[in-house]
Symmetry: C2
Subunit: 258 residues, 2 copies
């Protein structure tokens, strides 16, 4: 009368045989696999190279040998291509899965901030867990409730349902020339403390910042932040970590040595 659920590749380790390799793109992935794919996507994206085992390990807070093992599995699932001792890079189907997770994560972040009053430094942790549990329908309803936003609360672009990610050219605030003025496009999520600090400087997506000075040797940046009332500039000195977490839009140079 009951006929237990057929043992899918499933979460919570079932047994059974089913689902050998293939990557027809439809099988449900475990939360762990989803985390790996997302991490690998982001690493590939930010370095432009194949993702390194140790980098993945550090990002996921997992020991390197565990990563090695998982990479073999993901390669068998044709989610990425793997050559021992070289890094890994996602296949088309792996990238699709990663972008799906990115969308989920960012839609959830946007929803929590927009509809439930979450402060922006706490949406990341919550989304990190919900992204594995939410159905596609829920994600779509959240996106719809917000009017299908293009960015999450930190300014990161939200991939569309069909896996398109609009990449607007951005640069780190740290790279900006002294004297340049630019619009803050995004601030890296993940680090809640940093977000709280940055917010306390009134820096958030949309605010205009001008680099006033930069100390040598990757030293602190002095920036002028435009206040609410168009005027009311505020000057702050920020360290290089912060200057690398803040991304600005394709900058418009204003001054060039007077």
């Amino acid at each position: 009368m009951s006929a237990r659920k057929v043992a899918r590749p499933a979460e919570r380790g079932h047994s059974g045989g089913g689902a050998r390799h293939g990557a027809a793109d439809g099988e449900p992935l475990t939360g762990s696999v989803e985390d790996y794919l997302k991490a690998i996507y982001e690493l590939e994206e930010m370095t432009g190279l194949a993702a390194a085992t140790n980098a993945i390990a550090e990002r996921l807070d997992i020991a390197p040998p565990s990563v090695s093992g998982m990479l073999r599995r993901l390669a068998a699932l044709e989610l990425l291509s793997y050559e021992r001792y070289k890094g890994v890079s996602l296949t088309a189907s792996g990238r699709r899965a990663a972008l799906r997770m990115l969308r989920r994560h960012r839609v959830i972040e946007a929803y929590l901030a927009g509809e439930l009053g979450y402060p922006w430094d706490r949406v990341h942790a919550e989304a990190e867990r919900l992204e594995h549990a939410a159905s596609d329908e829920l994600i779509d309803r959240m996106a719809a409730a917000l009017g299908h936003p293009a960015h999450d609360p930190h300014g990161a672009p939200i991939p569309t349902r069909d896996g398109t990610l609009v990449m607007v050219p951005r640069q780190m605030l740290a790279e900006q020339a002294v004297g340049s003025r630019a619009r803050v496009a995004a601030v890296g999520d993940e680090d809640g403390e940093l977000l709280r600090y940055v917010a306390s400087l009134a820096i958030k997506p949309g605010t205009m910042v001008t680099v006033v000075a930069r100390a040598p040797f990757d030293g602190p940046l002095t920036v002028e932040v435009a206040g609410k009332g168009t005027k009311a500039q505020r000057t702050h000195v920020v360290g290089s970590t912060v200057a690398r977490a803040v991304m600005v839009d394709a900058p418009v140079k204003r001054k060039r040595s007077t």
Copy 2:
């Protein structure tokens, strides 16, 4: 520099030794454990007896031997008391955990229906997954957004944050005397098809129903459902499964043989 997360009793099976038995009430439980506790609570509640191994197995769609093993573990965690071959019953701390899950589940259901336009026959499945991933903060924010509702969309009472569950006396529609009139208080969730059917009869929490007739041998009930415009009664014949899924408030007898 990294110092990996300390191996808690944690989800995704880590290793390490930590956390022997104790049940200080604080350790995070795995999603599986949460499911067991919720199921056991509901079984105890509906039968008034210790929960039977096979009943738990059937409810969770898991083989009985798996349940036996888990029960031993849960007993070691002091979440329930277990005597071989007899059933199990939750300890205070087990019940607390179960009520917490019940609250989460029902708050999520209420939120999905109330704020995201989910149809009531689909909230259960979504909540079933989200209840393990949501933080307490999220649950509280959802409840607050709804004005701290007392019931979920199916009419089930929502436990308060401190674990209080208001139990209003209810009876199955199936038990109502012919001629009695009562307010529908709740309809069992879980079965989406049944919910869709019941909704098609305009039966939902709040509607008034009158038992017009009952066929013998647990046969179908003929009920009159009050329509929207106070009048506009509609008469339906429903099977015993439906009659047992629909719960009514402490009924007020109206007619008694003329």
